[in-house]
């Protein structure tokens, strides 16, 4: 492990870049992640956003950010980052812009934008080696439009378009895409998963990423009280459960080489995570859907059996 300035929660920087006063829901995991992530990034940032819940952070004439923000469109925030990065580069190169005015360019999108409509744009930017950060705040559905299924919605989850019915007792029958692996297959300098429950892990990863030029990609599990059916006060706890059950592995890949940054010593059963969320309630009531729960557990076990080997 390289030298880090983050050892305990006491090391979380005090400086705030995201201040209070946004219309996002109480307990929004995405908001918490952005706030912490920004602390590790530091100042001189421009966020490039695609349509999603966090788009509503800045609505005219207010912005809760001390940094810059550019809402582009749902499918193409990474392309927006390309334009900003390239423009800053050429203006600095030509001597038209003071290098002190340079900015870190950070794409911020939801999981739907990242894995579905904006996947092409992300792939293009990563392929070109664009020097940027990508923070995907993954609430596992299209939150802003009312929590419809995205390709990052997990199997067994109920969403507005995968409601459990007698024909589809499991709710969502499609598996969650492995966006970490999709990103990693481009061999960018840095890819990581993060969680708002593991703050030091998150800050260290951002710290590490700052040393690389090129794409630096973060996939953050962001509990969503509104869509998941949990209390606002439970967001961090749910994120922690996702890590402790092994559902959300914390890892990083440097130029494609994967390291797990936190291996739960004893994984809790996935049931502990599922049963406390309304979106999985149909797996427990009126009758327990043992098959689906067992399938989810099996997938997690298989994943870790490869890691632990």
């Amino acid at each position: 492990m390289s030298i880090t300035k983050y050892r305990t929660l006491k090391d979380v920087p005090k400086e705030e870049f995201l201040v209070a006063g946004t219309p996002l829901c109480a307990g929004c995991g995405a908001l918490l992640v952005i706030r912490l992530f920004h602390k590790a990034l530091g100042g001189n940032v421009v966020w490039v956003n695609a349509a999603g819940c966090v788009t509503l952070m800045a609505t005219f004439p207010y912005t809760p950010l001390r940094s810059s923000w550019f809402y582009t469109a749902m499918p193409s925030a990474p392309a927006g980052a390309q334009g900003i990065r390239d423009a800053l580069d050429i203006l600095i190169k030509k001597g038209k812009l003071d290098p002190a005015e340079n900015l870190k360019v950070v794409v911020i999108t939801g999981d739907g934008a990242a894995s579905d409509i904006g996947l092409q744009s992300a792939s293009g930017a990563i392929h070109r080696g664009l020097d940027f950060f990508y923070l995907c705040v993954d609430n596992e559905a299209y939150g802003n439009t009312g929590f419809q299924a995205s390709s990052l919605s997990p199997i067994g989850s109920g969403t507005a378009t995968t409601k459990p019915t007698h024909l589809y007792p499991a709710g969502n029958v499609l598996p969650k895409k492995d966006l970490f692996e999709i990103w990693r297959s481009h061999r960018p300098p840095y890819v990581a998963t993060i969680s708002p429950s593991h703050v030091v892990d998150m800050l260290r990863k951002v710290e590490k990423a700052l040393s690389f030029k090129g794409p630096k990609l973060f996939l953050a599990l962001c509990p969503c009280p509104t869509g998941w059916g949990i209390e606002p006060s439970e967001s961090v706890q749910l994120a922690r459960l996702a890590v402790e059950t092994g559902i959300w592995p914390l890892k990083e890949a440097v130029y494609g080489e994967v390291t797990h940054t936190h291996i739960p010593s004893k994984r809790r059963p996935v049931e502990d995570y599922l049963k406390v969320q309304r979106r999985f309630a149909h797996l427990f009531k009126p009758i327990k859907n043992e098959a689906v729960i067992a399938e989810i557990q099996k997938q997690v076990d298989e994943y870790w059996s490869k890691v632990e080997r």
């Binding site: 800045a58 950010l65 810059s68 990474p78 334009g83 030509k94 005015e101 092409q120 293009g124």
Partner: protein, 420 residues
């Protein structure tokens, strides 16, 4: 293959070259010192981006050329780069323009001035490569300024003028320069290639308004969830576009002083004593002018009005040119399915309240998918209009021009397709 011109004794200011439309707009981007060129290939635009990428790779242009993964991304990058302060050039066509359609409105709303050359090509389906103007006119309401070129020289000059108008603080809107695929993009014509120093004088450095900088954080493109705010910003764009009319006229004056070519928003061809006026735009207007010449020889008082600036719509100039005429024949090289041509209603609206408005405004559809327009078709359209005028009648729908030889050709192809 170039020679110094001694026209007007101003030999230093220009070089004569034989250039295609594609080469000409690439030269214009270079002379404008475009510094950011996001691109994505589509026939018939490819020659433009191939030339520019080569110049950048050879270090002949100090610019970043980046090949994007789609036109949607291309336009996004173009817009954010312009908002950050780079002078941006790009080009696309047809399906590409439509693929990026969402971003046309966004870029205009960001008030990000940049120049996009659209190489006109008719839209699928059925798919084809030949031009008409349904692609560029689909962008009509987006907020982009629109310059429509007839010749290779105009294509080059309009790119320079477009930057000058788009970047003006009274305007701050992106611009499309339309050149017809094949007919202009791949046709060589003799072109006055301006000198770099004169272009630099005509086109000062782009000074972005509220760009993204570390020292002054900004929030761009953000939602306005209060309806009056939305209306306010849209009205602002509209007024900025209307400002572009006079900004264009000013720029055209300077342009004439420096380059000895004068451009009004419209071109009048044999209009003074004309009773019937054909209204057209883009490269097929050259064929229209030939038809006017032929009909003049036959003793018909026909003229042609060509629209150069389509957005903002030069209502006043069109009124000046068309008031008091007997018949107006609007040749739309596009079709709004279920209605007719896109330009004709705009012309009609401009003329409606005049006492001396033309008796007949005949909507004509021609040249779709690059279909040629023959002298006979022009003659027919003029005859129909004049006949309606003498009957004091109006048209009962757009006149769809199609020749007998073409009908026979289509018939024979339909037979083959049905296996007969």
């Amino acid at each position: 293959m170039s020679e110094k011109s001694d026209k007007n004794g101003e030999g230093d200011h220009m070089v004569l070259k034989m250039l295609t439309g594609s080469q000409a707009v690439a030269w214009a981007a270079r002379l404008a010192r475009a510094e950011y060129i996001p691109a994505y290939p589509i026939t018939p635009q490819t020659e433009i981006i191939e030339i520019l990428s080569e110049w950048v790779r050879k270090g002949e242009m100090e610019a970043i050329f980046v090949q994007m993964e789609s036109e949607h991304s291309l336009l996004t990058a173009a817009g954010t780069a312009a908002a950050t302060g780079a002078r941006v050039f790009t080009a696309t066509s047809s399906q590409g323009l439509l693929y990026g359609f969402e971003m046309l409105y966004s870029i205009a709303g960001w008030r990000a001035p940049l120049v996009l050359v659209n190489v006109a090509r008719a839209l699928a389906a059925p798919i084809t490569l030949e031009p008409d103007h349904n692609d560029v006119l689909a962008a009509r309401d987006s907020g982009f300024l629109q310059f429509h070129a007839e010749s290779v020289q105009e294509a080059l000059d309009f790119v320079l003028l477009a930057y000058r108008v788009a970047e003006d603080n009274r305007v701050l809107l992106p611009a499309i320069v339309n050149i017809d695929g094949f007919h202009l993009s791949f046709t060589r014509e003799r072109v006055d290639l301006p000198e770099q120093s004169t272009v630099d004088e005509f086109l000062p450095e782009y000074k972005p308004v509220n760009p993204i900088r570390a020292s002054e954080p900004v929030a761009k493109g953000i939602p306005v969830l209060i309806p009056p705010l939305y209306s306010f910003f849209k009205y602002q764009m509209h007024m900025a576009s209307r400002n572009a009319l006079n900004v264009f006229r000013e720029a055209a004056k300077d342009f004439e002083k420096m380059f000895f070519r004068s451009y009004a928003t419209v071109e009048e061809y044999m209009l003074d004593d004309a009773d019937t006026v054909i209204v057209m735009s883009n490269s097929f207007a050259a064929v229209g002018k030939q038809a006017v010449n032929a009909m003049r020889e036959e003793g018909r008082k026909v003229g042609l009005l060509r629209i150069r600036l389509f957005r903002p719509f030069p209502t006043d100039d069109i009124v000046k040119s068309l008031r008091g005429k007997k018949c107006v024949v609007v040749v739309d090289q596009n079709i709004s399915i279920g209605k007719g041509g896109i330009t004709c209603p705009e012309i009609a609206e401009a003329l409606y309240h005049l006492e001396d408005r033309p008796k007949v405004i005949l909507p004509v559809i021609a040249g779709l998918g690059g279909k040629s327009i023959s002298l006979e078709e022009f003659r027919h359209a003029v005859r129909v209009a004049e006949r309606l005028a003498s009957l004091k009648a109006g048209p009962d729908g757009p006149l769809l021009l199609f020749r007998e030889d073409e009908a026979m050709l289509v018939d024979s192809l339909l037979k083959i397709a049905s296996g007969g």
